[in-house]
């Protein structure tokens, strides 16, 4: 494609701006033990965490790159900066946050959203959370919403009990990488019976070039509690690639319910390789709502391990693969107890040569009864250059199991466009309306503010898409 078109693409991405790199500390590019020690020193960590990181690094080196999914050959691990500290400390008032960083979040609309409809906000800039705040009322009820570094210091028992138990560092190459160099993220603890009625949100922003962001989130919902956690992410547009490799662990104890929503809108030069997994104990529910619009490559399969009777897992995956993008997304549910149920719903759209793939797995352990699972994937392909793939895996080792799998691939038909344009909508608006309609059953399940945001992002993606 011509440079002119490339530039237009860059301008289309509203969050592509960046400020000068004013990190107060940065490690050299490349990954080695010295980098790990530098991170650990800066965080003033206990020895067990330093050891955990070093062991993870050894595992990362030992594990091969995945030979499936998106093409990751463009990642140069030696040309990435693994730790950039944006400010000396973390703030709980936006007025104290350094000016350029505050302006970034103002432009992203975060402080405004916090005032209007959030119970708490965490904001990460490169490697560190620069802001964290939660409503006093929730604090008084014992809700903890902080960065994991603070949690390691102030709540060591909780952290040591759960950290790395849902996703061990040995789980996969990128989980090992995150475990070695993790920095920032969220630590959430909801006490028994507490319902947090409005969402907590964390916002992840990359500002530096050739940078790797490795936040780590651990959410523990104690018995009978509820929380909705929302994650957003953007990055500037650089000519070179960045890496985002997060680990998110959720523990839903008996009767708890956790909903985790993401609208990922990374710029088109970010490799987004994230491991997300929740465990649901007796009568607990874990729900993932995972919207992937941006990035160069995304490989992400939110998972739910159903550990106790009555547990329920639900995964809604939305992927938009545009020009030069490959979204390899889906979900995984592992039934380890009788009387458990799971639902995976995937909607993907591909256009301008983009690839959107659904990859999902349903696993049922032996000796279980009354297990139900429903998997539905719909793909919409907007032009002949674009692709959609479906890779469903079933691993069923019990008999008393009801599994349904439906997959559909559709194209925008000429007749649909003709019908809508005959009512006065131009072709671009007609296509956008069809795409938004395709997603509507999923978007309806998002809180209103995020539904509006997602529709708006789809409109941006669709702009200029019709010749």
């Amino acid at each position: 494609m011509s440079t002119e078109q490339e530039q237009v693409q860059v301008e289309d991405y509203k969050y592509g701006f960046h400020f000068p790199d004013e990190s107060v500390f940065k490690t050299e590019r490349g990954l080695n033990e010295a980098v790990i020690h530098a991170i650990s020193d800066h965080k003033n960590e206990p020895e067990w965490m330093r050891e955990f990181r070093l062991e993870s690094l050894r595992t990362f080196r030992a594990k091969p790159m995945p030979n499936w999914g998106g093409d990751l050959s463009g990642i140069d691990f030696e040309n990435i900066c693994y730790y950039a500290k944006p400010s000396e400390k973390q703030y709980d008032s936006w007025d104290d946050v350094p000016a350029a960083i505050k302006e970034t979040y103002d432009r992203l609309g975060i402080p405004e959203a916090e005032r209007k409809y959030l119970a708490g906000v965490g904001a990460q800039y490169d490697s560190e959370m620069v802001y964290h705040n939660i409503q006093q009322e929730l604090k008084d009820k014992g809700v903890i919403f902080t960065d994991p570094e603070t949690a390691v210091r102030e709540h060591p028992d909780l952290v040591r009990k759960f950290f790395g138990t849902v996703i061990p560092y040995s789980d996969n190459k990128f989980a090992a990488l995150n475990s070695a160099v993790w920095s920032g993220g969220s630590f959430v603890y909801i006490p028994p019976g507490v319902h947090v009625d409005v969402p907590l949100q964390a916002y992840f922003r990359i500002n530096s070039q050739n940078f790797g962001q490795f936040e780590r989130t651990l959410i523990i919902a104690d018995e009978g509690s509820f929380v909705h956690y929302v994650e957003g992410c953007t990055a500037p547009v650089f000519a070179t690639d960045s890496l985002h490799s997060a680990v998110v662990e959720i523990v839903a104890l008996e009767g708890a319910r956790v909903r985790y929503s993401t609208i990922q809108n990374w710029s088109s030069d970010v490799y987004n390789l994230v491991t997300k997994r929740g465990v649901a104990y007796k009568d607990a529910t874990v729900e993932w709502v995972d919207g992937n619009l941006g990035s160069k490559r995304t490989m992400k399969y939110p998972a739910v391990w159903l550990m106790g009777e009555g547990a329920h897992g639900e995964i809604l995956s939305i992927a938009f693969g545009g020009k030069g993008q490959e979204q390899d997304t889906g979900g995984k549910c592992v039934h380890c107890a009788s009387n458990t149920s799971s639902v995976i719903t995937s909607k993907s759209i591909s256009k301008d040569g983009g690839i959107a793939s659904y990859r999902g797995q349903i696993k049922v352990e032996p000796g279980l009864t009354n297990v139900r699972s429903h998997v539905e994937c719909d793909a919409l392909i907007l032009d002949p250059e674009s692709k959609s793939n479906t890779y469903p895996y079933m691993d069923i080792m019990s008999d008393d199991v009801s599994i349904e799998h439906e997959a559909r691939v559709s194209k925008i038909s000429e007749e649909q466009l003709f019908y809508l344009t005959s009512r006065g909508l131009d072709e671009e608006e007609a296509s956008t309306m069809i795409v938004n309609g395709f997603l509507d059953p999923l978007v309806k399940q998002l809180p209103m503010e995020y539904a509006v945001e997602l529709n708006r992002l789809i409109e941006l993606e669709m702009e200029g898409s019709v010749g």
């Binding site: 038909s413 000429e414 007749e415 649909q416 003709f418 019908y419 809508l420 344009t421 005959s422 009512r423 006065g424 909508l425 131009d426 072709e427 608006e429 007609a430 309306m433 069809i434 938004n436 309609g437 395709f438 997603l439 509507d440 059953p441």
Partner: protein, 261 residues
């Protein structure tokens, strides 16, 4: 509005369908276009709206003297043209309310658009068309019965108030009650600022809407035009009469019915 079609020729996949159509229609008039299946009636309506599958090989379509053949479909719609589809398409996930609101904004201008007045009007036309209020929140045409789809077309026409509407077999597949409702909808719009062309091969809808002009189409041309008396003649004598009058040989595969059985 004046819609003039001059020596219009069109083909699909290299097969000529329209072989020189001439028609002049104006606001205030209602035209009926009749003819057996395969005579090119639906092709004509699709070509008026610029359907991409048809290639215009000759002639002109003029709206108030301006040739519209170079205009995109949405640009033709914005002139005030409307087509009620023979087979309305399903648009999953797009509610009737959302779709019609957008179409109305485009038709009447976003500045003057008032959501409350729009919804009030939509509700009253739903009642008029004997349709449930729930249709506002249903996905456009998805899971609608054949009759509901046709009513939805007329409902849209009532909301968008076109200057000229082409109704492509809106009567087919309707029972007598639905037919009366659909005809009532069209009659509501009739007046000095509205013109229309009703495409049908049955005379029965014409009992309810009384066209001013009747045209008979056969094998891609208008073979005869006249007033309402033409409908009666056709009803009495069938299309054979037209064929004989115009010296056309009947082909084996095109035995047609004029009357509903």
């Amino acid at each position: 509005m004046k819609l003039e079609i001059r020596d219009l020729r069109a083909q699909i996949d290299d097969t000529p369908i329209l072989k020189g159509i001439d028609l002049t229609m104006e606001s205030g008039q209602l035209h009926a276009l009749m003819g057996p299946n395969g005579s090119g009636k639906s092709t004509l309506s699709n070509v008026i709206f610029g359907h991409p599958s048809y290639e215009v090989t000759g002639g002109e379509i003029l709206v108030d003297g301006e040739n519209i053949l170079e205009l995109e479909t949405h640009e033709r719609a914005r002139l005030g043209l409307f087509m009620a589809f023979q087979y309305p398409v399903e648009i999953p996930g797009v509610t009737v309310g959302r779709f019609l609101k957008r179409a109305a904004e485009i038709r009447f201008g976003e500045e003057d658009f008032k959501a409350s007045a729009f919804i009030k009007e939509l509700r009253s036309w739903l009642d008029f068309m004997d349709m449930d209020q729930n249709f506002i929140n249903r996905y456009l045409n998805e899971g609608f019965s054949g009759g509901e789809k046709k009513r939805m077309e007329v409902l849209q026409m009532l909301m968008l108030k076109p200057s000229f509407a082409v109704m492509d077999e809106t009567d087919s597949g309707l029972d007598i009650d639905a037919l009366r409702i659909v005809a009532n909808g069209l009659n509501e719009l009739r007046g000095p600022d509205f013109g229309g062309m009703v495409i049908t091969h049955y005379q029965r809808i014409l009992d309810y809407i009384k066209p001013d002009f009747v045209h008979i189409m056969y094998k891609g041309t208008i073979v005869t035009s006249g007033g309402r008396e033409l409908v009666e003649a056709l009803e009495e004598r069938g299309y054979d009469w037209i064929r004989k009058q115009h010296g056309i040989e009947e082909e084996e595969n095109e035995k047609e019915i004029v009357h509903e059985h």
